[in-house]
Symmetry: C2
Subunit: 423 residues, 2 copies
């Protein structure tokens, strides 16, 4: 992509009303636009980041048997009344609206009820289970406060998978092993694997605990008690001697740290499925309850966390797996020799399948250096009279200070090598 | 995909309250689930169709300089008040809701206002234009009646591109040539090219005409007057002697036909951009208005139209470009030899990148034949004792009655050839 074709411009200052560092940076860098507190639009670079995270999540869900669906946003009140979750006193963050004929409808905040209702058409026998539908979809939650940028939105992108199992044993295997492994594979691919921990948290209506995936971060809204050796933590909300005892954790080994919840999974038992009349017939002809779980990952929250966590004082720093472009190529001077080499390297790299944001604008070199840092692509390539005199192009990693001059004819191979080292 | 892993089941009957043929078929075939009138969820096969159409649209928009964004659904009332479009008397199909603090917000039905507001941050000089942002996003319109299945939804998937040009001339080139060519490329790839016509329609507030893309269909909600030779039509809503004269059309050459609007493009002039204060400075330092156009394609409507248009009495018939799977492979008998050949062909085809829905279920052959027809994949492959005795597998196109026996070792190449002939 030529920067001259990309309509964004960077800013020195973030808007005064934006207090979250992730949103400040992403707005300054032209990745997102703030519509209102907790509601952001994704501009071209932000859209690519969101897509790359979604695709990683999608691949890992597909590997464990997930089947992608797309449920509606508008919600039929009647099916939520059956489980008692329509009532604003029970669920306090609905957005609700009305059809033209006056019928109340909800704006989707989660999808247990409609999904159960849909799959009732297909599930009758033990042969029809287990199943794992999921979606990557915009959710709406009417949060009273939304001051954390992409980390807590009123409108946000979420992956929600639902498991429908034939027995507690079948459920437990998926809930305790298969899903958490897939989650850690997602975090690993986002370079968050080392600092993300399985965390016991409140179980809600249907069980004692839920599991959260918490990434260590100064700006986290959660406090967790972490046993680094066991790679296990307990959310402050359930921290007690009894719980530590249950989990075989000792107070001495625990650290109190701030963290961001980057995923959560809930065992739902058969509370919702029974209420909505989803049952199956087992091998012996007996009617049985369907054991459910739900499994969330906040896709846009992860974008916010990655922005915030990896950033330095000069701007964004993206992991290779989600960077909108692998290389920021800047042509520093409007001289024929410089332009010619820039154009030919751009063409060579893009032909080789390497994604390049090519700063071909008529701007001062200082602007281009500053933008390369602020936008946060993993590698920077500079073409100038000086670099050509020195033997080629200047290559630099976003996270390192040292530069190297690379001859034009070996730049492609070197970039391929560098990128594979960064993945 | 193994059919045994896909949780859908087909039905003999559509729900009684569903009157649109496209939704009846898609529900019977397990592609979609009806949430309420005009609101559908996409089950795994439906989700793939929607994605394939979206990807075709995306590729064609990218070719003409489109840059993909994702605008928010929740809408800030203030920017819509500026153009007068918040008022329910002016725009009568808003869904509206409230933030927890009581602030009114809209649920997005189109995105001129927020997009202008966002790009005001980036556009100041003639060097910043033209630009063509677009999104593929769920839209919400509070239609009083929604009886046409996916063809007219209260919640639907739409591609909306917006052009921002520096002059009427620059606008006209994009509006009259570049965008329509890209649209026809989309319809061609969906096998609708031959029966889709550029149609003059009402221009709304800002101009005499808009352009619609109308596909001939018995179930179309629109009546158009078509000159097949000139490949041009006039929507009944603007049909008059004066208009025919304007367009150089003669009454004698026109046919009255029913059609479905599969795209529309509107010239917006500078009405919205002026109102929201989006201007640019030209080469001479003068402030100038930005000339806008908007360009819609109903992605989910196209899915409905394709379902309805190509279907026959046995079920769906998908164009190869959007079929969820290229091949429906059915293993007819639970015999070792039959299963072994089915499994190995499934494995061979999928390894070669051919998408296969493999009916490995323990069902009667009649069910499998009926499902293969109803689900509408372009090619059907049958493995049975009879086919093996005859020399291999039985291959059939969805749209033809003749079958042929293909030796196992040439099935892959034959399918590749057949599919390339069908594209």
């Amino acid at each position: 992509m030529r920067r001259s074709q990309l309509f964004i411009k960077t800013k020195k200052q973030a808007p005064a009303d934006e207090t979250a560092k992730n949103a400040q940076l992403l707005i300054r860098a032209g990745y997102i636009h703030k519509e209102m507190a907790g509601v952001y639009s994704y501009l071209p670079l932000g859209k690519i980041v969101i897509e790359k995270i979604s695709q990683i999540v999608r691949e890992e869900m597909n590997k464990i048997g997930g089947l992608e669906v797309l449920m509606s946003t508008l919600q039929n009140k009647e099916i939520w009344e059956i489980t008692g979750r329509w009532d604003d006193k029970k669920v306090d963050n609905w957005f609700k609206t009305k059809l033209a004929n006056g019928t109340d409808v909800g704006v989707g905040l989660t999808h247990e009820e409609p999904l159960i209702n849909a799959i009732k058409n297909f599930v009758s026998s033990y042969k029809d289970l287990p199943i794992y539908p999921y979606q990557i979809q915009t959710k709406f939650r009417n949060e009273l406060r939304a001051k954390s940028g992409l980390m807590r939105g009123r409108e946000f992108l979420m992956k929600d998978l639902y498991s429908f199992s034939r027995s507690q044993k079948e459920h437990d295997k998926f809930y305790n092993d298969i899903a958490p492994n897939a989650y850690f594979e997602v975090y690993r691919r986002l370079d968050l694997g080392d600092i993300t921990y399985k965390t016991f948290a409140s179980g809600g209506y249907f069980s004692k605990f839920s599991l959260e995936f918490q990434t260590l971060s100064e700006v986290g809204e959660d406090t967790i008690y972490l046993d680094k050796t066991k790679r296990l933590a307990v959310n402050k909300e359930v921290y007690s001697d009894e719980v530590l005892n249950d989990l075989g954790l000792s107070k001495d080994g625990l650290e109190e740290v701030k963290a961001v919840e980057v995923g959560n999974i809930f065992p739902l038992g058969s509370g919702y499925s029974d209420a909505l009349g989803l049952y199956f017939t087992d091998e012996h002809g007996q009617r049985q309850s369907v054991i459910m779980g739900c499994y969330g990952i906040g896709v846009s929250r992860l974008a916010g966390l990655l922005a915030e966590h990896f950033a330095d004082e000069r701007g964004l720093v993206w992991p290779v797996s989600v960077a909108p472009y692998a290389v920021y190529l800047a042509c520093l001077e409007d001289k024929p020799e410089v332009k010619k080499l820039s154009d030919s390297v751009y063409s060579e790299l893009t032909s080789a399948g390497i994604s390049v944001l090519y700063d071909d604008r008529d701007e001062r070199p200082g602007e281009k250096f500053a933008d390369a840092d602020l936008l946060g692509m993993p590698l920077r390539l500079i073409v100038s009279e000086k670099s050509i005199a020195g033997g080629g192009l200047e290559l630099k990693s976003r996270t390192k200070d040292d530069t190297q001059i690379v001859p034009a004819d070996s730049v492609k191979q070197l970039i391929v090598d560098r990128l594979s080292g960064l993945v």
